[in-house]
């Protein structure tokens, strides 16, 4: 057994788990870990703020399906992670946050930069734990990592007191074994098959938990001759001619009408968020989810199947009768305006090998609705928490993880929140094309004030910023584009290297 320190053990354990790239921001108490990284195979990418680091770890995870790691110092370093962790939690994204804390003898005494981060993040993590002895460190890292990336994925946090980082410890190569995989219940499957076979107007509702089952979903939809709709989080999960698009409050009317008409809903990996679920009487629900607590939480099901969508679908495919109806499926679209036109222009670009990202607001809704029936499995969009400012740092994380070009569609309000990360993108040479739909307003809120507050506008004006100059000041390229020019310029930009920031006035 090799003797080492707590800090080195963290780095070696992360390396042994296959981590090569992590995000981190330094500070007094995390210094031993940064020092250990210097001699390791791991590269640390430094954002402009810990929040950027957390979103980057999230983007890394969405783009690769692996755990994104972010490390920070104690106190404000740790609290800056909170929005990023909550964003990942709401969208079931696996990130491992490692924070340093004050030495054990100073804990609980309101010491300088002491904060109870495990307490703060308890409701927004799958697991959070403060290490009390260096002997549990290796096991806890492996446990946290395994928990983040198994079952319903999600963020986890380990908090490590400074003196633990410096303590001597032996690497024991301990293992953490995960609970057994779930075997779907045969009765529930049979019931689901019977419901689908009796259905007159079945429909498949795809959520984020179905992202690995694109092929099976489209085969099933073909066999049933039925339409597919998705939640916001499910956008990009399927590639099928039967796909109508999104349903819910931000969806085209025609998609919602089709959903209402359905008599049997096969819901795959969704939590029936309040944004999508319009209760309609007389429907039967089959719900497949990996999280028992999601079954029967919002809708009462006629068949609840606990299991991974990917494992359950082949069983359903086997059992259902082919309906062979000659049906055409028409994708719904939002009303045409300058914003939706720009979104469609972007959606229609050749996006092969390009990762698409959005921020939060009207532009997000426009793009998520416009993205065609193509697979965008790595789509980066904060749909559960709706976190403005998520887009840029998440794009950086995804590009660092994959080396792919990222196309971010944002708007001025969201972009202004975290544009300090442009310099991070430039520093690490990522290939990134940003399109800012600049309406000089917090557009989505402006719409609400127009409709619900009698057009009494307040707090929605955004500052007049020259994004071209801003980009240049940080070493990126920037320009203003007109709508008609957008298609050509953007398609070209996607084949070029570096960071480009385009502003389109809406």
């Amino acid at each position: 057994m090799k003797e080492t320190t707590g800090a080195k053990l963290i780095v070696e354990t992360l390396a042994s788990l296959g981590m090569k790239k992590i995000f981190g921001y330094t500070g007094n108490y995390i210094l031993p870990v940064f020092d250990a990284i210097k001699d390791s195979s791991i590269e640390v990418f430094v954002p402009s703020s810990e929040l950027g680091g957390a979103h980057s770890a999230d983007g890394y995870a969405r783009a690769t399906d692996e755990v994104g790691v972010v490390i920070t110092t104690s106190g404000p370093g740790a609290t800056n992670l909170v929005t990023g962790i909550a964003t990942a939690y709401m969208d079931s994204v696996p990130i491992l946050a490692i924070t340093a804390n004050v030495p054990r003898k100073k804990l609980g005494k309101d010491s300088f930069q002491e904060v109870d981060i495990t307490g703060i993040v308890t409701p927004i993590t799958k697991y959070s734990h403060i290490i009390t002895s260096v002997d549990e460190l290796e096991y806890e890292i492996k446990k946290a990592y395994a928990l983040a990336s198994s079952g319903r994925k999600g963020p986890v946090l380990l908090d490590i007191p400074y003196d633990v980082l410096n303590e001597k410890v032996c690497i024991k190569n301990v293992e953490y074994s995960l609970p057994k995989a779930i075997v779907p219940d045969k009765n529930a499957i049979d019931k689901a098959i019977a419901l689908l076979n009796e259905a007159v107007n079945p429909i498949i509702l795809v959520g984020g938990g179905a992202k690995d089952a694109s092929k099976e979903i489209s085969l099933l939809a073909e066999k049933l001759s039925c339409p597919i709709v998705t939640t916001m989080r499910g956008v990009g999960a399927v590639d099928s001619a039967n796909l109508l698009g999104v349903v819910g409050y931000s969806a085209p009317y025609s998609n919602n009408t089709q959903f209402k008409k359905a008599d049997v809903v096969l819901a795959l990996g969704t939590r029936f968020s309040d944004k999508m679920y319009a209760k309609s009487k007389g429907k039967k629900y089959i719900h497949v989810d990996i999280d028992l607590a999601e079954l029967d939480k919002i809708v009462e099901t006629n068949s609840a199947i606990l299991g991974d969508v990917k494992d359950v679908l082949p069983l359903l495919l086997n059992g259902v009768k082919a309906r062979n109806l000659d049906k055409k499926f028409t994708r719904g679209a939002l009303k045409k305006n300058r914003l939706t036109t720009l979104a469609s222009t972007i959606a229609e670009l050749d996006l092969t090998d390009v990762i698409v990202a959005t921020d939060v607001g009207s532009h997000q809704i426009a793009l998520l609705n416009a993205l065609g029936a193509k697979n965008h499995k790595e789509l980066l969009s904060s749909t559960g928490l709706g976190t403005m400012g998520y887009g840029l740092p998440a794009s950086i994380g995804a590009s660092i993880a994959t080396g792919k070009h990222v196309l971010l569609f944002t708007s001025d309000g969201s972009f202004n929140m975290n544009f300090n990360e442009i310099s991070t993108a430039v520093k690490y040479g990522v290939d990134l094309t940003v399109v800012i739909a600049n309406n000089r307003s917090l557009g989505m809120i402006e719409d609400i004030q127009r409709n619900k507050f009698n057009a009494r506008y307040i707090g929605i004006d955004t500052p007049d910023i020259s994004y071209a100059l801003l980009a240049k000041s940080m070493g990126a390229q920037g320009a203003r584009l007109t709508l008609p020019k957008a298609q050509e310029t953007l398609q070209k930009a996607l084949t070029e290297r570096g960071v480009k920031i385009y502003e389109v006035r809406i």
């Binding site: 028992l292 607590a293 939480k297």
Partner: protein, 166 residues
């Protein structure tokens, strides 16, 4: 609304009680009692929760609790197959002339007298929650000064038991 009881073995670590109670509070579950105690295994604590809710809500609470990493085991305890007990300590005002009445009540309920002064008496009773409720009602006319209830503790009857190895 039905009464439901849950017995859980949870990791005996800091933060676990706050995760469980936070979950219950955040999701708006209205619980009757929650008690935590040590077990024969020092790595684990036992939590017993009593809840009045409909069947569907109960299933949801059970699923939400079961998925917490710190919850090692969780079972529903049924009235019929479990020993459900609660402890009550109650102080009532008591002048000398009513002592015989109090003694009668104590005997009927098999309660214990644990402290007595010129003006008050402290009684202790262990039993099912309904028995405690009725004892309290009987004492109310004498004037309850203070009381404390432990919340429910419970074990399954017979050979089955909630252990980590099960």
């Amino acid at each position: 609304m039905e009464k439901h009881y849950l017995s859980m073995l949870v990791d005996n670590k800091s933060g676990v009680l706050s995760r469980i109670s936070g979950l219950i509070a955040r999701r708006g579950y209205n619980i009757d009692s929650l008690s935590v105690c040590a077990t024969e295994d020092e790595r684990l604590s036992r939590m017993t929760i009593a809840i009045s809710c409909d069947e569907r809500t109960f299933k949801q609470i059970q699923a939400q609790l079961a998925k917490q990493i710190e919850v090692e085991k969780i079972v529903e305890l049924k009235d019929s197959d479990s020993v459900l007990r609660e402890l009550l300590i109650i102080k009532i005002s008591c002048k000398n002339n009513i002592i015989p009445e109090i003694v009668d009540l104590t005997t009927i309920y098999k309660a214990k007298t644990v402290d007595i002064t010129e003006s008050s008496v402290i009684l202790e009773l262990t039993g099912r929650a309904s028995k405690l409720d009725s004892f309290i009602e009987m004492l109310r006319p004498y004037g309850i000064i203070v009381m404390a209830r432990s919340g429910l503790s419970a074990l399954q009857r017979g050979a089955t038991c909630l252990k980590e190895s099960d």
